[in-house]
Subunit: 489 residues, 2 copies
């Protein structure tokens, strides 16, 4: 039965591929125009220009759109394409904002992250109507991979289906978030205010990369994340390290000792109960995990690593577990700018990843409790001199807001349906119980109580969140076929 469905679906997708092959230039042109619009969420005016442009693109495909507003923030874009009489509703989530940029680092685009640039492995390629496109070329621009590619893939898939006189069998809805890279601060509010509009059977979450082997991947959830900033204190002003070294406590050493107490040499977290409560995987999920390609050696080579941490026996296992990461350290100055001082304070920013079964607020409390257990007085404000003279060790701990982990069971019928659709387009896929990175899935789980399944299309080496972000053309082409398959479910 499944075999026949797959075959049918695969046959139906033939016209989608043909249409894409005949229209690559037009698709890329549309993508380049979209990527030319700066889309950092903090710039609401820029985001409204993006939203208007995207509404225009959907309009052309007969998708009715409207903006869902939250005061003072970029709007979310809602779209719908209803199938009269259908009982099933699938909702696609994409985001149209991108990470902040440091233009001077964008060496592949002439230092302009919003000048989309086509490149071979070695050089820029002029994009003209005559250009013969190599699928290994990449298009560089902010959001090329994360997350405007799925928007273009969905639009092209709609075109392809229409050209083949096919239409989605289910009601299709779209929700385009305008501030995912800012942590989707209003998504919960927008969803709460539009529960009826956003009702449906399940969500397809289009974000993230495919597997490092370039095999297509479906993920059934993601780790949650939160974080803390920790500042510890020495003297109330920088002191001369000659006159006072050996006497005034050095906050950089204090911070080093505090952080060193949190993890062992192999990366296992030593914070009490840090791993307590992790919800175990089902048999289906364990089998899927075991079947995931082992990319440890490839990645170690790629990243220049002679060893890895030992929380899991390999990467895919490791990211099923909570993690504690230092994002950054700062105290005084280093290198040529360093001066002979005992710094006044030292700061570390950490992120915490949680998995199903551990609330992020609980994880934060465990870290705070650990800091207290090292002899620190924990506060959330800058210490004044009275506080400094009272407590030998003070840690200011401020907390980032967080997300919990969401994990959709692979055993659900909708999970199996999505697997079948994607495999029809792309053959056997990698099925990941949890992605390591965090996605704003929480609202679908905790507010709408609907399953959410992540179908990414970008190449894993898309430089997401960094400079020189890019999409490999083949990933875009594959993405179009995947979206066509999902629209036909």
């Amino acid at each position: 039965m499944i075999g026949i469905t797959l075959l049918l679906l695969a046959m139906q997708l033939q016209p989608a591929r043909a249409w894409r092959q005949a229209n690559e230039h037009a698709i890329l042109r549309e993508f380049i125009d979209l990527l030319s619009l700066p889309n950092v969420a903090a710039n609401v005016a820029d985001m409204r220009r993006n939203a208007a442009h995207i509404q225009g693109l959907f309009d052309k495909r007969g998708v009715k759109t409207r903006l869902l507003e939250a005061a003072g923030s970029p709007p979310a874009i809602y779209g719908e394409l209803l199938a009269p009489g259908s009982k099933q509703t699938v909702i696609f989530y994409v985001h149209y904002d991108g990470q902040p940029v440091e233009p001077e680092k964008w060496t592949m685009t002439g230092k302009n992250p919003f000048r989309p640039t086509l490149r071979s492995a070695t050089a820029e390629v002029p994009f003209t109507p005559e250009t013969k496109l190599d699928p290994e070329w990449r298009l560089y621009a902010r959001s090329a991979g994360d997350d405007k590619a799925p928007i273009i893939a969905l639009l092209a898939a709609l075109d392809a289906l229409r050209a083949a006189n096919m239409a989605p069998r289910a009601n299709i809805k779209f929700l385009l978030d305008g501030e995912e890279e800012a942590g989707s601060p209003h998504l919960g509010q927008i969803v709460e205010a539009n529960k009826e509009l956003l009702s449906g059977d399940f969500w397809i979450f289009c974000d993230g990369p495919v597997h490092q082997t370039r095999q297509q991947q479906i993920a059934f959830g993601a780790r949650g994340s939160t974080g803390v900033h920790i500042t510890v204190y020495g003297p109330n002003k920088e002191l001369h390290s000659g006159h006072y070294g050996n006497w005034a406590p050095n906050p950089a050493f204090m911070l080093a000792q505090l952080l060193a107490s949190m993890k062992d040499a192999d990366g296992r977290v030593l914070v009490k109960d840090f791993y307590k409560g992790v919800e175990p995987l089902s048999e289906t999920e364990k089998k899927a995990l075991a079947a995931m390609p082992n990319v440890d050696e490839t990645l170690k080579s790629e990243f220049g690593l002679a060893r890895t941490e030992k929380v899991g026996s390999r990467l895919e296992e490791a990211i099923q577990m909570p993690s504690l990461n230092i994002r950054g350290l700062s105290s005084g100055a280093v290198g040529a700018g360093s001066r002979n001082v005992i710094p006044s304070e030292a700061t570390a920013s950490l992120d915490i990843r949680v998995v199903k079964g551990i609330d992020y607020r609980v994880a934060i409390e465990r870290v705070k409790e650990h800091i207290r257990a090292q002899g620190y007085y924990v506060t959330d404000r800058d210490p004044d001199d009275a506080m400094r003279r009272r407590y030998p060790r003070i840690a200011k701990v401020t907390v980032r807001d967080g997300d919990n982990s969401v994990r959709t069971s692979m055993d659900l019928e909708v999970s199996q349906m999505v697997i079948r659709a994607v495999e029809a387009a792309r053959g056997p896929v990698v099925k990941a119980p949890l992605l390591g990175g965090t996605l704003p899935l929480q609202v679908f789980d905790e507010v709408l109580h609907r399953p959410v399944i992540v179908v990414p299309i970008a190449n894993h080496d898309n430089n997401q969140h960094s400079h020189n972000e890019n999409i490999r053309l083949q990933n875009l082409w594959d993405g179009i076929e995947i979206m066509a398959a999902l629209l036909l479910m």
Copy 2:
């Protein structure tokens, strides 16, 4: 015998005080003119203007001067005032350059560090021939304390002696360094090239502050200093902390663990043999150290500290020992700028203070050996991918040049002579075996093999090396009497 000498000397100093009291305005006028000349060592043209001006001031007092040149750098100024038939030669070291300036921070001088400004505790005081000078007022300008004050004090002392028909009994020589704040990079070369000219019995090193209690202080040496920059490595580029956290080693954690291994919670250095070789203090020095005023509680209150490190039982003891200090930490980004990455590297800059008996090069080797003992491959270059894939832990360690500690025995006859002279002028003085900070004393010890004794005159709160540097007038007046006493030794 000593009592009688002291009394005699004190009587001889009466005319010096009277002369100073009658001539405060002229002294201050001369000081203001000198401080008006910008004197950052990097500007050689400025420094030559200072040198010519200072030569003029010495000429007026019958001191013969010449410039000692080193190519491309500010000259040193040599001066001499020989006492025919005398067998003793005393050489005074002062420096006439000042630290670089950030004019906008000089709030006490109208944002011009070279506009000497007289101030009461609350306001600027116009300096006119009628101004009645309060000894608690301060004169603000770059080098007011560090280190043009001793130049003016010496000149005024020469005037005072001449007015009283007295003359130095010993041959007096002067060496004025033009690049001390730049680390005296040519002092060794200049001294080597002028060994004959600079021959003498011992050196008086006029720099640094008096004791925090405002009591006069003599220091018989200073700690040496050097330092290392340590960088440890994670993946060869920043990685997403969600996708790779728990798997890719985090260099910030590695650095924290490495640094934490170097010191215990009370600040004692755990590097093997770090304290080995410290030359013990003599009984005289131990007694002098024990007699130093205990300022721990005052300073703890001033600096907002509830505890101190435990290398010595109090500050003065602690700075007789080697120290290891973190000047700065850097990895990724912290606070609002932090991103969800595993940083690619983490750096700490450390300074090492050494005391008599430990060569700074040995101290550096001990730290390097410690790093190796923590499992690191130590290199002095950036690792390439082959090196990264070969060694699980890599530390790039680069070394700053250094100075050894110099400590002149308090038991030497010249030491006792200097103590007697200064006590004749100022009563009981604080005698410090070693200053915590580093001074360029090494050349006198290691090249000329002559004793060197540090006689500072500036107030401890002179904002040395920072903006709003100043001298308290009473410190200048006291300095004149001290210099007169030293000239009469």
